[in-house]
Amino acid sequence: MNERPTLEIIAPTVEEALAKGLEQLGLTASDVSVEVLDTGSKGLFGMGGRQVRVRLSVNPPPGMGSPAKAAGQPSTASAPEREADAAPAAADIHDAVLDTTESVVSKLVHQLGFEAQVSAHYDGEDREGRRSIHVDVRGRDLSALIGRHSEILNAFQYVSSLMVGKEAKQFVQLVVDVEGFRARREKQLRQMAQRMADQALKMGRSVTLEPMSAAERRIVHMELQGHPAVITKSVGEEPRRKVTIAPKE
C-alpha cells in the first residue's frame, strides 16, 4: 500500500488545488487523501505570494466504484497511475497525453507535406473546469494549413483532436495554433467587437457581424460581456451563425 499513486498540485488555495487534482485524476474527494505540503503565503497586496502546494494520494479502491473502466480495456494504465508518474507541478506537467498529442500532430503535419515543429502544453482551466491542450505548430510557409477563414486549421484541429483522443483513450480538446495565428486573430476580433459596439450605439440599432465559428463568436461575446450599453447574441444556423450586437433597451 506504500505505492499509492500520488499527485502534487500547486494552486492559489487549497480548495482550488484539490479541485484541480481531482479533475486531473478523474476522482472524487472521497477517493483521495490530501496532504498540504506548503500553505503558501499571501504576499503584499496579493503580489509575490507563494502558492499552496498539496499532495493527493489515491486511496486503494474499495472493490467497487473504481475509477477506471478496467474491464475490457486493453490498457490498464489508468489515469491515476499515469498522472502520478508525471506530476511534479501542475503548471508544467508533461504527461503521456501531451507526448501522444505531439507525436500524432507532428506526424499528421508531415503527412500533409509541411515541415514544422510541434509542441503541446495544457491550457488554463475554463469556466467549467475543463482543460484543453494547446498545440503550437511552427515552421515556414504554413499559411496553407490555416486556409481561408481558418477553415483548414479548424478541420486540422478537429481531426487531430479525434485522433489524439482515440490514441489516448480519453476525450481531449485540442486548440491548434499555427505561427501564433489564433492569438493574432483573437486580438483582431476583440478590437472589431469594440468597434462594432461603438457603431451600434452611434447608429442606435443592431449590427451583425460576418459568420464565424463557435470559438470565434465566443471571443466576441466574452469581449462585450461586461459592456455597459450593448448586448450580444448569436443568430442563424451553423455554419453561417453570426453575432449581432445591439444597444441595450
Binding site: K107, L108, Q111, L112, G113, F156, Y158, V159, L162, K166
Partner: protein
C-alpha cells in the same frame, strides 16, 4: 495521398485492420475510396458528415501541394 488517408482513418477507427483505401483517377485528379468496418462508419463520417468533411479539407491541402485535386468517397460496407 493514400498514405495520409490511411494514417487518418486508422487513427480514428476501432478496427484499423478493416480499413481499405482504393486510389484511382488520372492526370491531376485523384479519387480515394475509403472502406471501414460497419461499426466504424460513424467515426469517419461524423454528425452531418463533419468528420468526413474535415478529412476532405485536409486531403485538399495535401493535394494542392502536389498540384492535384482529390475527392473522397466513403463507401457503404
Amino acid at each position: 495521398m493514400k498514405d495520409l488517408m490511411e494514417y487518418i482513418a486508422k487513427s480514428l477507427v476501432e478496427h484499423p485492420e478493416d480499413v481499405q483505401i482504393h486510389e484511382s483517377g488520372s492526370g491531376d485528379r485523384v479519387r480515394l475510396e475509403l472502406k471501414v468496418n460497419a461499426a466504424d462508419m460513424g467515426r469517419v463520417i461524423g454528425k452531418s458528415g463533419r468528420v468526413a468533411n474535415a478529412i476532405r479539407a485536409l486531403l485538399r491541402v495535401a493535394a494542392e501541394q502536389q498540384g492535384k485535386q482529390v475527392t473522397l468517397d466513403v463507401l457503404e460496407p
